[in-house]
Amino acid sequence: MKKTTKTAAKTPKKMTAKSKSKDFPDEKYILQLFIAGILPNSLRAVENINSICEKYLKGRYELEIIDIHQQPDLALDSEIIAIPALIKKSPLPEERMIGDLSDTKSVLIGLRIKN
């Protein structure tokens, strides 16, 4: 596991120009995960995003988990329809994805993290 984190940090140095658009090696990730109470999809999403973050973004991410049942206004503000929904606030551009995040590959592409 540590190995992969390392490579993730290393690779950009090698692949200069291309990697800049693909990955943000040093930048801090700010993520929002919208869930709805303790629905199975939501619980799975929390689990999945936690493990992905720990694995690929350790020490440089901020994850906010929002329960729309508790804070429905935030669902409105962020124009949430489907749940669970993950929003990458930073680094820009903002990226949105929906689902329980079990498709790790797709999540990584969405977050622009090099595997």
Partner: protein, 498 residues
């Protein structure tokens, strides 16, 4: 023997939410199913959004029921602007917290990474309903969701949504695009079991008519046919056939024809109030003059008259009638006489009647004149026309409005088949004007073909139009035998009731 338990009367009334849309409540026998969802299906541009919006606005204005409008297609500002042309002032209701509009943006580019549902929509809808304590909700249109999400998931979610809406105790309208395989493109109707309406916008002979049909209404009787509807600056009007019963009162009051000698032919008193009068005749025999004389006399008696001209423009009618001593212009100015002028082909016949009805509601005339009805007949197949005309006459009778229509006929058609017009059964008084030859001169004549409920003249009279108006006199006696015979034929015709 055990006595069967007396069951409590189960016929508790099916609860309905009155839509407030003209005609629709008659058609649905009292409105949409209360606290249940109704589906409105239709193609683009057939009036789904407007109908849904009017349902909400009327709910606010008539019953003080707050409303939520979830728009999936239009942004709220656009929506407000679009329905403003129909006289719906949403901004005002919005400020008063009576309506809550929300634009639900569906983003088809969202990455899918696993299982999801649309709980977010539920939460937002719930929030919206709580915000204004809504009793009426519109979702316009759910089909948009299919652009962004997996249909298999949506199907499951729609089922949940509709049950959820019922639990929320709101009367909801859901709109959907029509499809080829199902009523809706994505088969939403499967989930909305209670009431389904289909709207349609059809072009026949270059005339567009919007039509509405109730496909399904569980637990209620409803009209089954397609009914035309109109969208204008006052919203939607549906014209159901069943709206006018024959329960009208029959007045025994009389109203003068405007020509003294004509009154004399009709038992000396003129038409019955609230009856229907037909003046038929060949071209140029003076039908419009009879109509105009009636209009003038109505105005003289300080009552209002609506003159629907389908052949001549109002100014032309006014000018022409001036030549026989009728100054209609001053009547228009004093607000007693109002003209409705439209080319028959401009709209569908039914829509003419809807338009006329609207004017009647505002203007409140005691007499309506349709000049001539035959011009309308060029529209659509005849059976349709007759049905619509009957309905219209019934409506006027219910309102106790006297109606006079003129009809142009071709020479000889009456001799062949007196009921050729197909409208004689619905008129109470039928007068015919025609040209006959008397003493080597073409003379206008007038006879009363029938007049229900009164003693009327059976004579063919000389009918003269001069600068001082209409005069009716006896036809002079010194005519030769052939003419006499011809005249006798007409006389026979007028008394064929026997």
């Amino acid at each position: 023997m055990v006595k069967a338990k007396k069951s409590k009367t189960p016929d508790a009334k099916f609860p309905k939410a009155i839509t407030g849309i003209a005609g629709l409540d008659v058609l649905t026998n009292g409105g949409l199913p209360k606290n249940r969802p109704t589906l409105i299906v239709g193609n683009a541009g057939c009036g789904k959004t407007i109908m849904a919006m009017e349902f909400l606005i009327r709910g606010i204005e008539l019953f003080d029921e707050p409303a939520v409008f979830m728009a999936f297609e239009e942004k709220t500002d656009e929506l407000i602007l679009n329905v403003k042309s129909l006289g719906f002032d949403i901004r005002k209701h919005r400020e008063n917290g009576k309506i809550y509009l929300e634009y639900v943006k569906v983003n088809p580019d969202e990455r899918k990474a696993g299982q999801y549902d649309i709980e977010g929509l539920f939460v937002r809808l719930g929030l919206a309903i709580d915000k204004v304590k809504a009793k009426r909700v519109v979702l316009d249109s759910l089909d948009t969701l299919f652009n962004g999400f997996d249909p298999a998931i949506l199907r499951v979610e729609f089922k949940r949504l509709l049950t959820w809406l019922k639990d929320k105790n709101v009367t909801a309208i859901i709109t959907g695009e029509s499809g080829s395989e199902f009523y809706t493109r994505n088969g939403i109707e499967e989930y909305v079991a209670d009431c389904v309406m289909v709207l349609d916008n059809r072009v026949i002979n270059q005339v567009t008519t919007r039509r509405l049909r109730i496909v399904k209404y569980r637990g209620s009787i409803h009209g089954n046919n397609e009914y035309p509807f109109l969208i204008d600056e006052k919203g939607i009007t549906v014209l159901p056939v069943i709206s006018e019963g024959l329960s009208q009162k029959s007045s025994s009051d009389r109203i003068s024809c405007g020509v003294e000698s004509l009154d004399e032919m009709l038992d000396g008193k003129g038409y019955f109030v609230g009856s229907s009068v037909l003046v038929s005749g060949t071209a140029g025999t003076g039908k419009t003059s009879v109509a105009a004389a009636f209009a003038e006399s109505v105005c003289n008696n300080k009552q209002r008259c609506l003159f629907c001209a389908f052949e001549e423009a109002p100014n032309q009618v006014i000018r022409n009638m001036k030549s026989i001593g009728l100054h209609l212009n001053s009547r228009v100015k004093s607000g007693q006489l109002s003209f409705y002028y439209a080319r028959p082909t401009l709209q569908n016949l039914e829509l003419h009647f809807i338009a006329i009805k609207k004017i009647i509601k505002e203007f409140d005339p005691s007499v309506v004149i349709l000049d001539p009805i035959t011009n309308l007949m060029t529209e659509g197949p005849n059976s349709d026309v007759r049905g619509m005309l009957t309905r219209f006459v019934d409506y006027l009778k219910v309102e106790q409005i006297t109606v006079l229509f003129t009809a142009a006929i071709t020479v000889g058609s009456i001799e062949r088949n007196p009921s050729d017009e197909g409208i004689s059964s619905m008129v109470d008084t039928w007068m015919m004007v025609q040209d006959i030859e008397v003493d080597g001169e073409r003379t206008r004549s007038l006879c009363v073909m029938k007049s229900r409920g009164m003693k009327h003249s059976n004579q063919v009279k000389r009918f003269e139009i001069s600068s001082s108006g209409i005069t009716i006199s006896k036809i002079v006696d010194n005519i030769d035998d052939t003419k006499k015979r011809k005249l006798k034929e007409h006389k026979n015709l007028s008394t064929t009731k026997a």
